[in-house]
């Protein structure tokens, strides 16, 4: 009896986190709907959200994976853009627009290429962090710079355009009446959720993030696991890059720079502890939807993109304040 009480409360509070997120999402939805019912509640608005949020959602899941072990990956945007650009250059080299199949085969190769760019970039981060013991912030800051730089060198500045139709399908198509990016996001979120909570890899990451030293004494292969976590982050980042460039049908070295802040915000808002050991894909998914409602609402209210950046920043600070306040009360 003596023990069961706090335990019960803890279980509640764990679910509370998700419950609070859902409440917040509904609140944002209601406020935005009330402010501009005509435009916000239109089917078109929701449809466009299902095209827009997956790339950010995947980036946020990538951030979650890095944060689980107490790290961070500041190079995700660089990886995403570099992947898209390399795929684009590949298409320019081999694809003839006369191809009647829409270039499915070529695009499959392009996806493979983009993913291997992500894997290689993630492996580089993982190598720097686990083998050379560089702090994740600095390592990924540097590599992010290198990736963005390479992207710039490859394109010379302007965007690469002219992707095959099959590539366009990834970003703008429909599967069973649902946006392809949305379907991809759901698949990725379910897969990552399963990997993080039901496999040895995921649990090892959680344990390593909770106490790296104890992980070594418990015989966990810390270096290898952290390495694979950055590899996973890289893969996810390049997936986001594929979706992004598919949707815009272009690739550029400085696309999505504000996504870095947003991905971190979503991770923190979704209940991830930046110090490691805590975080769920479910939390991230709800947080990304909430913030998409917020930004779509503001766009409908004709706020400029810059003002929306301001709001994202303010929201991040607000979340920090609320989290701190909640922890203090508890």
């Amino acid at each position: 009896m003596k023990y069961s009480l706090p335990d019960f409360r803890r279980l509640m509070s764990r679910d509370n986190n998700i419950v609070q997120l859902i409440v917040m999402t509904i609140a944002i939805f209601l406020i935005m709907a009330a402010l501009n019912p005509d435009k916000f509640l239109r089917y078109y608005n929701f449809e466009s959200i299902t095209y827009l949020f997956p790339e950010l959602g995947v980036l946020s899941i990538a951030m979650l994976v890095a944060m689980l072990t107490g790290g961070i990956d500041l190079s995700v945007i660089g990886i995403a853009n570099l992947s898209g650009i390399l795929a684009g250059l590949f298409f320019h080299a081999v694809y003839q627009s006369a191809d009647p199949s829409g270039g499915v085969g070529v695009v499959a190769l392009g996806v493979l290429l983009a993913l291997s760019v992500g894997a290689a970039a993630g492996a580089l981060n993982g190598f720097l962090i686990t083998r050379l013991r560089v702090t994740p912030i600095l390592a990924t800051l540097g590599t992010g710079q290198v990736f963005t730089g390479l992207a710039l060198v490859l394109t010379g500045g302007p965007a690469i355009v002219g992707f095959p139709p099959a590539w366009d399908f990834i970003g703008n198509g429909k599967i069973l009446g649902l946006a392809t990016p949305f379907v991809l996001f759901v698949i990725i979120a379910c897969a990552m959720s399963f990997i993080l909570s039901r496999t040895t890899f995921g649990l090892n990451l959680l344990l390593i993030g909770t106490n790296p030293k104890a992980a070594v004494f418990a015989g966990l292969r810390k270096g290898r696991m952290v390495f694979f976590s950055y590899l996973t982050t890289g893969l996810l980042a390049s997936t986001a890059g594929i979706i992004l460039s598919g949707r815009t049908n272009a690739a550029k070295s400085d696309y999505g720079t504000s996504y870095l802040l947003q991905a971190i915000l979503i991770a923190v808002l979704g209940g991830t502890n930046p110090a490691g050991g805590k975080g769920t894909v479910a939390g991230i998914s709800i947080a990304v939807v909430a913030l998409m409602f917020l930004s779509s609402g503001f766009q409908i209210l004709r706020f400029s993109n810059h003002l929306i950046d301001f709001i994202w920043g303010a929201f991040l600070l607000l979340v920090i304040a609320i989290n701190a306040f909640r922890n203090r009360v508890r």
Binding site: G142, V153, W312, N323
Partner: protein, 325 residues
């Protein structure tokens, strides 16, 4: 102390070797013109780096200062144009004040909510830049409208050489401002209690609290000073290039942080020095500058800076591991 001195000598030695190599590849490197422009490029980055050093010494991480610098310079110049004021001292004071104000915001969140400074400064930086571009405006104040007094001030030269063929080169006097600020920060860090409290905070926040340091004061001092230095650097920057662009300094955070890390400061706090930081800044600026001299395409700059960050951090990680061993 010996360790600090040693890591600075190492940086200085690497710097010297690099200078000799670059000089051998392209002798134009040693020309007075190039030296002057090299030193000139140190000024703005260097002043910003001093602020980043303060934050890093305390164990924090700041990515908001480029936004603060832009906000300070753009708001000040816009204000000057609006009221038709022209002068030098007041605009600089105003920019510093804006920087301090922004710094307060960082300090408040870092102190009050104990949140990781990287995340706080990501938020404040995005807010300040978003506010500037979204509310104040996006238009560039170019040389036609730029306050002439500021241009005149920034044109002041320390040494000026006019060659027989009529070509002219000069060493900007702004270098003195940089050196003066560096000396001031050095003295504060070494000879005042507030300076020592920054090192103490970086060494261990809990211990600093128990010994009786007023951590609130220290944290506010750090972030406000960093903000002030950023504001000052921003103002100086626009005066030196004769235009105020609200989209300026994008990506500057990485360059400056790279310089500070290159200068031997530890990202975990407690270790680092002004001299090391100045050497780090010089090294980074020199590499960027030499890329141009060696006719490397400017698009490669990011790649090179990134590689330098990686190498510098690998080297410091290696050093720290040896220190522990």
């Amino acid at each position: 102390m010996g360790l600090f001195r040693r890591s600075e000598t190492i940086i200085a030695a690497i710097l010297l070797v690099a200078m000799i190599i670059i000089g051998l590849i392209n002798p134009a490197f040693w020309q007075l013109d190039n030296m002057f422009s090299l030193l000139r490029s140190n000024v703005v980055i260097g002043i910003m780096a001093l602020g980043v050093l303060l934050v890093m010494l305390s164990g924090g991480f700041d990515v908001s200062f480029p936004a603060f610098a832009v906000a300070a310079m753009y708001l000040t110049v816009k204000g000057m144009l609006a009221i038709g004021y022209s002068g030098v001292l007041l605009p600089f004071l105003c920019a510093v004040a804006i920087g301090v104000l922004c710094g307060c915001l960082n300090a408040f969140f870092v102190y009050k909510f104990r949140m990781i400074p990287l995340i706080v400064t990501l938020g404040t930086g995005s807010m300040v830049r978003g506010f500037l571009l979204g509310v104040v405006g996006t238009s560039i104040v170019n040389i036609n409208r730029f306050p002439p007094e500021l241009i005149e001030f920034a044109k002041t030269e320390l040494v000026s050489v006019t060659r027989p063929d009529g070509s002219h080169s000069g060493l900007t006097a702004m270098l003195l401002l940089y050196l003066g600020l560096a000396l001031a920060v050095h003295l504060v860090l070494r000879y005042t209690m507030i300076g020592r409290s920054i090192y103490a905070l970086g060494g261990g926040a809990e211990a600093a609290n128990r010994v009786g340091f007023n951590l609130r004061k220290t944290i506010f001092f750090i972030y406000c000073t960093a903000g002030a230095l950023a504001g000052f650097a921003g103002m100086l920057h626009c005066s030196m290039i004769w235009l105020a662009n609200p989209r300026d300094f994008v990506g500057m955070d990485l360059v400056v942080i790279a310089a500070v890390v290159l200068g031997g400061a530890s990202i975990f706090g407690g270790r680092g020095s002004v001299l090391g930081t100045m050497l780090g800044v010089f090294m980074l600026v020199m590499v960027q500058n030499s890329l141009i001299i060696m006719k490397v395409d400017t698009t490669w700059q990011l790649v090179v800076v990134g590689i330098i960050i990686v190498i510098a951090t690998v080297a410091t990680a290696w050093r720290d591991r040896r220190r522990q061993a």
